[in-house]
Amino acid sequence: MKRAGMVAVLAALLAPALVLADSPNWKPVGELPIALAKGKFVIKLPDHWMYQAGPMELESSLHGSTLDRILVIFQPRSRASTTTDTESFAQDLLNPHEQRDDRKYRLESLLPAVVAGREGYRAEYTSVSVSGTASVEYRHVVYGVKGPKGNYSLSYAAPAIHYYRTSLPLFEAAVKTLVLR
């Protein structure tokens, strides 16, 4: 069992602590949109949520990352997927999100969508987070679009029970505020 056994027991109660405890960069979302990746994209996140920003990505949550999370990832053109196949493109943009959660997403739907005034896609996924004897089903929505300086993916993840439905409209509203530069 070794360390995996430790995780099996502790993660059920303490996993979010591992996510947040070392995150002094979280701040409340203000009234103004947030510009990131050297101004390559701007987005207005839901009121009262918290966010932390890295060089190429933005993470936001209200109840903690395990209960609701918006994640925006920018891939510069040099590292961005160049495939023209929609499913391959969707998978390429999904990879960093999957790596974050360390679990496999199952595709439920993949449809064209307009993102920041450009042709993109909207995909829905499910996944199961297993910690010891506990397993919680998550639902995800991922938008993807090719921008002038790279590719962008915006994901929303929450437990299927209650939290997904509650914050989904807030995520959809945030996607509509995305501006690419």
């Binding site: 430790m6 979010p16 947040l20 701040k27 910690s131 209650h162």
Partner: protein, 270 residues
Amino acid sequence: MPRILLAESTHSAIQDCRGCKSGMKIVLMRMNRALVSLACGLLLVGAALAETRKVLVLPADFHVTTLGAGSTVTPNPEWTALAQENLTRATAELVRNRADWKLVELPELEPADRDALNEHIDLYRVVVAAVVDLTNNQNGYWRRNLEHTEFVLGSGLGFLADITGAEQALLLAGFQMRSTDGRKVLSALANVGSFLSRSVIGFQVIGRPVFELGDAHTTLAVIELRTGKISWLTQREVLTEDPRVPEEAVEAAHELFAPYPRKSLLEVRR
């Protein structure tokens, strides 16, 4: 029953008063009788008004593991089953002990309902972990932002309210990691080594955290079954009791429940 007692007591009081020659005593006795009657009446009305709430006790979600000499953690299904049984009984006793609560035990559930309950208990673990993390978080922004949050399990447990008539449920959850004998021996040796190193060479060579003797975390929550709202939540970050022993499980549950209905983890943050 109280009415009969009252009638008997007032009757004997009147009998006593027949021998009294003082008019004042008779007046006082009549006033006393009136006050007693009034108090008893109020008690009867109060008892009728104070409805006892049905409270459902959910099966304790408690897991016991062993922590070996090499820091290996192994789930122990036998100990877990024993602790769960004892802690569920202990939680039921908490409900029985309250005059305003009426115990409702979980009936046999259909497989689909059983799955739904388990899914919500699993979600409870995630929710409680988030609450504990955010309330303890060193980042003050998170703590201040908690006023905008609502930690719930959704409305999916409403079927339990329909089945049992209970509007609330009590759930005890957590884990205890117990050291093996080998680890205890190693820990003792480490302590001796630490003492000697401090005495002989002036500083500690072996750190105690290397041989921690275990860990535990327990929570107890009152859950509104129709909304999934966690209306009261408490936690203990240490567990000195052994929940495999029935009496100690009762002690552990009582310790958790002692602050009810005050000091909810969800209120402290506001």
